[in-house]
């Protein structure tokens, strides 16, 4: 008999619902995708003696990973300290507090690495001060991508062969992990990551980000670039439009990263009829009721009243200025490999609207 630590009380919430979206396109719609990697990381940490019963978990998050940790912490008796910033939705904030999480807000960006770095600095302080504390570290912990074997199982169990997987990339865990597992069965799987301009994940110059869950200003080791055949970048307004489309056309009330994945998946699916395509939809829309689903809030978003691009603009380097939906053939290369190539390509076609893009972003 093994004596594995088990934290399975919420396990039924981990699996996505597989929703047909027309043709051979399916949405893998999660209640809260991060419950799976969070549970997996905590179980493994407990197994390895890094997380002791009743100990304190410390993490930096203003989103779904923090919520998942809070739900697990209350179920399994851990104390939780979350470092967050102003972007934390006030309803989510209340919910975290009701779950007993101690939420601390960082309001000043670090000189380099921005708010994300400032949060990590604050987090280091807690990890030093609280004895026996444990940091799941979703951006660097290899157990994050490792946890997605279960999602791959659920997809093939339901759909059999999967030809293309499309999803948003934040820590990189879900797309890198799920693609890798699916490829043990379907080596030709086509994987498409969805990022946003100004995110460094796939080589954009760092800049201000306005779409939480998508992209970042620090490159996480859990982004395994060699898994991606293609990368797309959507500006926030495009992701928000797509989120509404997903709701209006299919009744799925999801978050904006789901919308971003939906936009790209629908386009790819239309151009590749007969291929089984799965888009990952990481969370539900409730947390965005006062933002993405609020017309007044949307009015203030750059580009909201412009007609969204119907198809992506193909860029020849991921460093190109991007004013809207763009795509690049990544070809399962490393980031270094792609960037080394990109520097040879200055004179290629430029995004038609890119000059105005920087000011708008």
């Amino acid at each position: 008999m093994s004596t594995r630590a088990l934290m399975r009380k919420l396990e039924d919430f981990e699996a996505p619902r597989v929703v047909p979206l027309g043709g051979n396109l399916y949405g893998a719609s999660f209640f809260l995708m991060k419950l799976l990697p969070a549970r997996f990381m905590l179980e493994r940490a407990a197994d390895q003696g890094l997380l002791r019963p009743g100990a304190t978990i410390c993490e930096s998050s203003s989103g779904t990973f923090g919520l998942a940790l809070a739900m697990l912490a209350v179920q399994h008796g851990y104390r939780l300290i979350l470092v967050s910033d102003w972007a934390l939705d006030r309803n989510l904030h209340r919910r975290l507090i009701e779950l007993g999480a101690e939420v601390t807000i960082v309001d000043r960006p670090a000189p380099s690495g921005g708010l994300q770095q400032a949060r990590l600095d604050r987090l280091q302080g807690y990890l030093q001060d609280v004895s026996g504390s444990y940091w799941p570290s979703q951006y660097y912990n290899p157990d994050n991508p490792l946890s997605y074997g279960k999602v791959a199982e659920q997809l093939v169990d339901r759909l059999g062969r999967v030809d293309c997987l499309i999803g948003p990339v934040g820590s990189g865990g879900s797309m890198s992990g799920t693609s890798r597992y699916l490829r043990t069965l379907f080596p030709d799987l086509y994987a498409i990551g969805v990022d946003t301009p100004n995110s460094v994940l796939f080589g954009q110059p760092s800049g201000k980000l306005n779409l939480s869950g998508l992209g970042g200003n620090i490159l996480p080791s859990n982004v395994d670039h060699s898994q991606f055949d293609e990368v797309h970048w959507l500006v926030p307004a495009e992701a928000f439009h797509a989120t509404h489309d997903l709701h209006r056309q299919h009744g799925l009330f999801m978050g904006p990263t789901s919308g971003a994945a939906y936009r790209v998946a629908k386009w790819w699916s239309r151009n590749n009829p007969g291929k089984t395509v799965v888009a990952l939809f990481p969370d539900e829309g409730h947390r965005y009721a006062e933002t993405v689903y609020d017309e007044d809030w949307l009015e203030k978003i750059a580009g909201w009243s412009d007609p969204p691009r119907a198809s992506p603009f193909t860029v020849s380097t991921p460093m190109a200025p991007m004013s809207g939906w763009s795509r690049f053939a990544w070809d399962r290369r490393s980031l270094d490999d792609v960037l080394a190539h990109a520097s040879d390509q200055h004179d290629t076609a430029a995004d038609p609207r890119a000059d105005s893009a920087r000011s708008g972003a």
Binding site: R4, D157, R161
Partner: protein, 293 residues
């Protein structure tokens, strides 16, 4: 003492379609497998009671079969019976093809036949595991199962039989042998353990849809994981030949030496492809043998 005889047969297998570590309903990890049954390989057992007080097996080397018969006799309250247990098998020994399990199962079933008892397969498997530590899943033929071969329990029943598979058998090291039980169980790393989940998912779909091609992918993935623990010499060459003749994948004996190049038996072109692949294998110096489902 009742005099009389009982008779039974059990089949061998050609290694496994899948073998790995899987989570059961209680989140417990268990080693489990799905055998690739091979009806041409058989062990036949005749159990003939007599007035001696000894249970003898012929040939005498089949000690596990004798123990299995004895355990069965004891389990059903006839201990002390004298009998001859005659085993006649065409299953190659020590290739990971289930010769020992087939002997054990045939012996248990022969005793039950003699006793006139219809036992549940769970009970049969429990006796089999106590006679020989580990056991394959060949007993389950109407419904494919994921079988915990060291615990003797069914982890998952797939409700349908395996789709029909023809295969070319290749012994990758004809001289060498692997003792199934001495062979140290694989120490899978976390990536491998989690990889068994999607394999199990596709196994389920493949059996449900009677989709041999998907089953081929599952078997191939499992065989690749096994390469780290019991590599099969020249596997890449076998794979290349398979790809030329539309093989649906390959499977291995995870504790043996054989490799099977798999073909979809419901594909009309399979017989021709099998002939051609066999010729190509022979040309490369292998000694292939064809098994039809």
């Amino acid at each position: 003492m009742p005099i009389g005889a009982g008779y039974a047969e059990a089949i061998g297998h050609h290694g496994e379609l899948v073998q790995g570590l899987f989570e059961d309903d209680g989140a417990q990890m268990r080693r489990a497998l799905v055998s690739l049954p091979c009806r041409q390989l058989r062990s036949k057992a005749r159990f003939t009671a007599n007035n001696s007080d000894q249970l003898r097996v012929i040939p005498a080397s089949r000690e596990k079969a004798r123990r299995a018969a004895e355990l069965t006799v004891n389990a059903f309250g006839r201990s002390g019976i004298g009998a001859d247990l005659q085993i006649d098998s065409n299953i190659p020994l020590s290739r990971g093809m289930g010769s020992s399990t087939a002997d054990v199962l045939a012996s248990i079933l022969a005793v039950l036949d003699w006793l006139g008892i219809e036992a549940a397969s769970d009970d049969v498997m429990q006796i089999a595991v106590s006679a020989e530590t580990a056991c394959d899943s060949t007993l389950f033929r109407q419904q494919a199962v994921l079988f915990a071969h060291r615990d003797g329990v069914v982890m998952e029943s797939f409700r349908r039989p395996l789709p029909p598979i023809d295969f070319i058998s290749i012994d990758t090291t004809p001289g060498a042998t692997v003792d199934t039980l001495d062979f140290e169980p694989a120490r899978y790393d976390q990536l491998e353990i989690e990889t068994f989940r999607p394999l199990r998912g596709l196994l389920r779909t493949a059996i449900k849809n009677a989709d041999a091609r998907m089953l081929g992918r599952v078997a191939t993935a499992s065989a690749r994981i096994n390469e780290r623990f019991l590599p099969k010499p020249r596997l890449a060459e076998i794979e290349t030949i398979g790809a030329r003749f539309d093989a649906i994948g390959f499977q291995v004996a995870h504790s043996g030496t054989v490799v099977g190049l798999m073909f979809d038996a419901s594909d009309l072109k399979a017989p021709v492809n099998i002939e051609r692949a066999t010729a190509a294998l022979r040309q490369s110096g292998f000694e292939p043998a064809i098994f039809r489902h």
